[in-house]
């Protein structure tokens, strides 16, 4: 049943969000800390486990795959509802701060990826 997969996906999201919210409260932060990431972890665990086979195999799996495939259309809709006007009316300071932050962060991607790679390769050689 397709709905079983959708229900599993929903359960993962709700559980993750609840934990993210609790983590926020525990840290004294006004934000959901990693709720979506935790939910993704649940779904990865469920789809790699034998216990949940009935909820992720066959038709049930297509219920999850459908929403995964709807991801790009949803992102396009998300782009269309951004407050683009406010972003550009913030003035030059906002533009410079935003652009500079992105450029520096882009530049760091290969640097930090390398740290990770050299560590994993040294672990493998040990």
């Amino acid at each position: 049943m397709i709905v079983y997969g959708v229900a599993l996906l929903s359960a993962c999201l709700i559980l993750g969000m609840l934990l993210g919210e609790l983590l926020g409260v525990a840290l004294g932060v006004e934000a959901n800390v990693g709720g979506v990431g935790i939910a993704m972890l649940f779904l990865v665990l469920a789809s790699n486990s034998d216990k949940f086979k009935a909820l992720v195999d066959g038709a049930s799996g297509t219920g999850i795959q459908f929403w995964s495939a709807m991801y790009i259309p949803i992102v396009v809709a998300m782009a269309a509802r951004q407050n683009v006007v406010a972003a550009f009316e913030g003035g030059m300071l906002a533009v410079v701060a935003g652009v500079a932050a992105v450029i520096v962060s882009f530049a760091l991607v290969p640097v930090i990826s390398k740290i990770g790679n050299s560590e994993t390769s040294s672990e493998e050689s040990q």
Binding site: S68, I74, V76, A79, R81, Q82, A97, A101, I112
Partner: protein, 252 residues
């Protein structure tokens, strides 16, 4: 006209599906014919979405782009946080646990590095523009982290509303630039495997930006980047009003 409006408003989400579907069809057509596949169809679709959001915002004066136009209200629901998170989690289906473990440490490092680097850059720019008040500098720096961390930090520190607005604008610029810029720099920064995607998500942090940027680069990388990115805002809200403010306060 009235009948049209009634039908569109009553079925707003369905209208959104049709409009977005049409937009994507046009975008893939353009990507194929005009750029011979060099620019990804979804990159064009996202750029069209942002462009439409600009004109929608200009026309209505609202804050949610195209979704403020009565006939297109469903875009707001379709592109809202709930659907976005639901679809992001669904992309994790089929992800291998071993890939996540491999990049685990680099992923965690990237989240903290990303928050701190963006904050420092934002704060330095604020100082260069003549701000000396630690609260203002911290709030603007936090805005360069994400457009959520900015106002959360600003309200916690009691910043003026115009400074908070500025921090939101900085965060929005960052988010939009990540959406558009990621496919352009992907090759240069080695963004072509799950590990670098996790590091990328942790460094950029803006969930919307990472979500759209990776979708336009390689949809297979989306779950890895999204996984780390969703921790970023939380870490930012944690560090901004506390350690980072204390450091700024000590320096200025």
């Amino acid at each position: 006209m009235e009948i049209l409006e009634t039908v569109f408003v009553r079925n707003s989400l369905v209208v959104a599906f049709a409009v977005v579907g049409l937009t994507i069809w046009i975008s893939y057509f353009l990507a194929d014919k005009l750029t011979k596949g060099r620019i990804h169809g979804s990159a064009i679709a996202i750029a069209l979405g942002l462009l439409a959001a600009y004109f929608g915002g200009k026309a209505t004066g609202g804050s949610t782009g195209v979704a403020d136009i009565t006939l297109l209200g469903g875009i707001g629901l379709m592109g809202g946080g709930m659907m976005r998170d639901f679809a992001i989690v669904a992309t994790a289906f089929g992800v291998k646990l071993s890939e996540l473990k491999k990049a685990g440490l680099a992923g965690v490092v990237s989240i903290f590095a990303g928050v701190i680097v963006s904050f420092v850059v934002g704060a330095v720019v604020a100082v260069l523009y003549g701000y000396t008040d630690p609260v203002a500098v911290t709030t603007i720096g936090a805005g360069a982290v994400t457009y959520i961390v900015g106002p959360v930090t600003g309200s916690a520190l009691g910043a003026d509303s115009d400074i908070i607005a500025l921090s939101v604008a900085a965060g929005l610029i960052k988010s939009i630039l990540v959406m558009i810029g990621t496919p352009l720099v992907a090759k240069t920064i080695g963004l072509n495997n799950p590990q670098s995607a996790m590091v990328f998500g942790g460094l950029m942090g803006t969930t919307s930006g990472v979500a759209a940027g990776l979708a336009a680069t390689d949809p297979k990388l989306v779950p890895y980047g999204a996984m780390t990115a969703t921790f970023y805002t939380g870490v930012g809200c944690l560090l901004g009003p506390s350690i980072l403010f204390i450091i700024v306060n000590a320096i200025l």
